[in-house]
């Protein structure tokens, strides 16, 4: 029964991943991350993604603070934050977030404040969506690991 539960959860995980790939939320770089997870680094993906969340929230706060300044003109700083965001987002396979960051950077290169503000809103929306979906994925993975873990002692009986 519990083994059956683990299999169902495995199917749920794969369905969610397929959905996220189909929607363009994630790309194959996320699969590369999974390939780096092994018995010596069993939580590699969740550790990397948690660092990504932590760093991204700092970057988003910095971007918003900069653009909300009355006398804002430091587009170079915006560009630095965005390059970092692009680098980290593409490194975990966050495809849609990366695309929005690139568009944001283009607006910044044109000193287009209104364009930057619009891009920031879109970025915050996409990031929020990604974070929720990845949390959902990790929750299913945790439940599956628990279900699979309880199964093994029963097999020995």
């Amino acid at each position: 029964m519990l083994g059956f539960g683990a299999d169902l959860l495995w199917a749920d995980m794969n369905r969610l991943l397929a959905f996220l790939f189909h929607q363009g939320v994630l790309d194959e770089q996320f699969l590369q991350l999974q390939q780096l997870q092994d018995h010596t680094s069993p939580n590699f993906v969740s550790e990397v993604v948690n660092i990504y969340f932590h760093e991204s929230e700092k970057l988003l706060n910095n971007l918003r603070s900069l653009l909300m300044e009355r006398e804002f003109s430091d587009y170079k700083k915006i560009e630095i934050h965005l390059n970092q965001f692009i680098g980290s987002s593409s490194s975990i396979g966050a495809k849609r977030v990366t695309s929005v960051c690139i568009a944001f950077r283009a607006a910044s290169e044109q000193d287009n404040r209104a364009g930057c503000l619009r891009a920031l809103e879109m970025l915050e929306h996409e990031y929020c969506y990604l974070k929720n979906k990845l949390h959902e994925l990790f929750q299913i993975e945790q439940q599956r690991a628990l279900a699979a873990g309880v199964r093994y002692p029963m097999q020995h009986q």
Binding site: L33, Q35, L36, S41, E47, Y52, I80, Q84, G87, S90
Partner: protein, 138 residues
């Protein structure tokens, strides 16, 4: 006995040629973690530092690496500054510029002395092709 020793010596030199070393230079903790994970998977002994100055300092301390993965934008000392400095120190390691910057900025990085430029993120496939070139050179 002599042949065994000779065989052992040949094996040792082949093993040392295969055991590449790499330095990851990036201010982003996440990117350092991923690149170190990629290198570990490929069997490459590696270290990581947070900016160009630390990359230069680690070389001043006498350490040498076959490959340096160098980010471009970093605080304290950028990838461009660090690359120029390392080349002026006579460091001949293969330096791969790894960044998410635009095409125009890439040229500046190449002029500084990197051997190759790759857009972030590095993939397993790209890293393997870099390692093949370095192994062949070694």
């Amino acid at each position: 006995m002599g042949n065994q020793e000779k065989g052992k010596g040949l094996m040792e030199s082949q093993n040392s040629a295969d055991k590449l070393t790499a330095l990851v230079v990036d201010d982003d903790k996440l990117v350092r973690m991923i690149h170190q994970g990629l290198l570990k998977r490929a069997g490459v002994k590696n270290e990581a530092v947070k900016n160009g100055k630390e990359a230069v300092d680690i070389h001043y301390s006498g350490q040498r690496f076959d490959i340096i993965l160098m980010d471009k934008e970093m605080p304290i000392m950028t990838g461009i500054e660090a690359t120029k400095k390392l080349r002026s120190m006579g460091i001949l390691s293969k330096i791969i510029g790894v960044s998410s910057c635009t095409e125009a900025k890439k040229q500046e990085f190449l002029k500084a002395g990197i051997d190759d430029y790759q857009v972030k993120p590095l993939t397993i496939g790209v890293l393997n092709s870099i390692l093949e070139v370095v192994k062949a050179r070694k």
